[in-house]
Amino acid sequence: MAEVIAQSGFTGKQTAQPATTFSLFPRPTAKTGIVSWLTTVDHKKIGMLYGGFAILFFLIGGIEALMIRTQLMVPNNRFISAQLYSELFTMHGTTMIFLAVMPLNAAFFNLLIPIQVGARDVAFPRLNSFSLWVWVVGAILLNVGWISHFVPSWNFGGAPDIGWFGYAPLTSKSFTPDLSTDFWVLGIQVLGISSIVASLNFIVTIINLRAPGLTMMRLPVFTWMALVTSFLLVLALPAIAIALIMVMFDRNFGTNFFEVSGGGQPILWQHLFWVFGHPEVYILILPPMGYVSEILPTFARKPLFGYPIVVFSGVAIGFIGFGVWSHHMFTTGLGTVATAAFALATMAIAVPTGVKVFNWIGTLWGGRIVTRVPMMFALGFIWMFMMGGLSGIMHSAAPADAQQQDSYFVIAHFHYVLIGGATFALLAAIHFWFPKFFGRMVPEFWGKVSFWVIFVGFNATFFPMHFLGLNGMPRRTWTYDSNMGWNEGNLFATYGAYLLGLGIFTYFAVLVWSYFKGEKCGNDPWDARTLEWSIPSPPPEHNFAAIPTVHARDAWWYEKTHKAEIAQEKAAHIKAEESHGGIHMPDQSWYPLFAAIGLLVGGYNFAQLHHPVTMFGQQVLASHLPLAITGLGLMVASCYLWALEGPGGYHLHIDAEGKVTESRGDHH
């Protein structure tokens, strides 16, 4: 057994190295500094980068939301123009979903999955780095339009202004002639590529790199949910990829997919979008359900109640989630039978979701609930998610939804699931795992203050929106008249949003403080249950000195209760591994970054394909095509060199005192 582990190295693959590699220039080896971050293949560093960018965009999305709320504070307000307002809500929705919550989840996937499955990295470390940088490219493409507001000569027509689901035919060249829509199309497409690649990587990692003894039914629930989410991503994103290709063709090459004059049917966009879009909301919520399923047992000091059924219900949610997309289209005239079928399927989702809620309560029942900050956010999650879920059920009654669709009632529903659900769980997770990855605790007091401010602010903002919706206020309302009965609700919601913003601000300010000044902590400050708590905080590059053998669910909890046995096992593993040349680690690489830069150049220029290239007011090229092709070429060349370069690798050796030394070269 030990021998097999030793061979498995970081990827579980044979570590036989090619004798030589093709190389254009030397591989980066820096362990610190900017180069180390740009070329890293370490899942933890990549996770941090995802997390950092995501939080940045969360704050940007939040500021966009605050501008929206400020505009809606009083009736007939002219704080923001209608055009800018469209850009704001489009970018707020797109940012929060694609650039905040999804990458935050990706951050945790990266940080936790390899450690929770007892591996040294993901299955394809360079591919992982590629996903990250491609994501950054997508984020840039989506946001580049803002420049137009500051530098009018960059005439992109502002940020995208078509709503986060970009319903055709508004996306057609006749209705949004400017470039912002092209950037939106390409940006989302690129983000999709990033997510698919990352998810494939996680699927292989979770399925193939599990430590010995870690059967699927012993996987931590978070990892399970990450697996389901990854499947949802690879299966849902292709639908929107196709739809985006169609829009792109319509806009640039004269096709008729959504052009009514040519026989196109814009409703097809809606179907394809929501075939992706509905699974997408579960992509947003399943990982949070995973965090909560880790945090609740830790602080109730009791294993998760009904583990198999929690796992199974997660799979069921993912599966049923593919069959309900048209509940976003109840008002598009689907006909009675289709409407009925989708209404019933939608209701069915409440059952597996309910199962999860019940099992969380079961976990708390009989425990000793320690209300630390992560636990408070986790409990808040249950309460708020339940509210959001129940308003979802109200939507599923299709005829009633005819009154709610595209009203503030929907806004209330999805902010309850997205903030009260996904965001609360993410805030819980950040607080929970912060000590692990930074080695410092976040002060309880300020954590609790931020919790309460967020909790109160959140409800103050979004609870009134149910009533605004029932009172007939449509969403995407730039301004409203004063005789509609919406004045008080909006004013109150806006105050709530400011309070919420204050809470969020406090939360992150405290994190920043803790990063520098927080109290240092050990391996396992929360007395937790899964493998990541068995290793030092912050974790070393190689994660585990010895690949663990898993004997039970909650592997670390088992280790804590069977110390002697485990110590022996570990010593044997370390010896076996050293006799096989030490711990194999993957090499850093420039090519994922270069390939992404190629994609950026290609995407940026492709978006403006039919426009001339100007420089200092002079036309340089008749179209952007040559530049787009250059970018594509750069990307292909980088991928090619990447393939030739090979995974490379070096070895780490841990001596008896725990000192780590590095060696390069072939040990076989």
């Binding site: 299966l235 026989g263 179907h271 075939v275 593919f322 048209s326 009675t336 289709a338």
Partner: protein, 121 residues
Amino acid sequence: MSAPTAPALAAGHHEPSKFHFYIQIAMILAVITGIEVVLIYLPIVKWLVVTTLIVLSTVKFMFVIFYFMHLRWDKVFCTILFFIGLVLAGFTMFALMKLFASDAGKPLTAAALDFARTTLG
């Protein structure tokens, strides 16, 4: 079917060559394709042709994935993995076709033509 049984897999030994076996499969595939093309010109009832075509292409599909793509010899998990995508895609296609084939799914132009046909003629 005359296909040889799966070669026994003793770890650490070269498998017997599948060369001839593959060629046989390819021949079967080619023949099926031929049948398909002929089929569409035969004066048989439409539903039968459609069903046969679907069955035949499914057979081809299965031959390729199970033999050329080795699913038959690989761990069953590969098959499961692929079929998750396949089944979901099939299901989504089916649902979309149903949605657009229904009366409510007709585009206005088609609906208008239909209307004219039923009320005027």
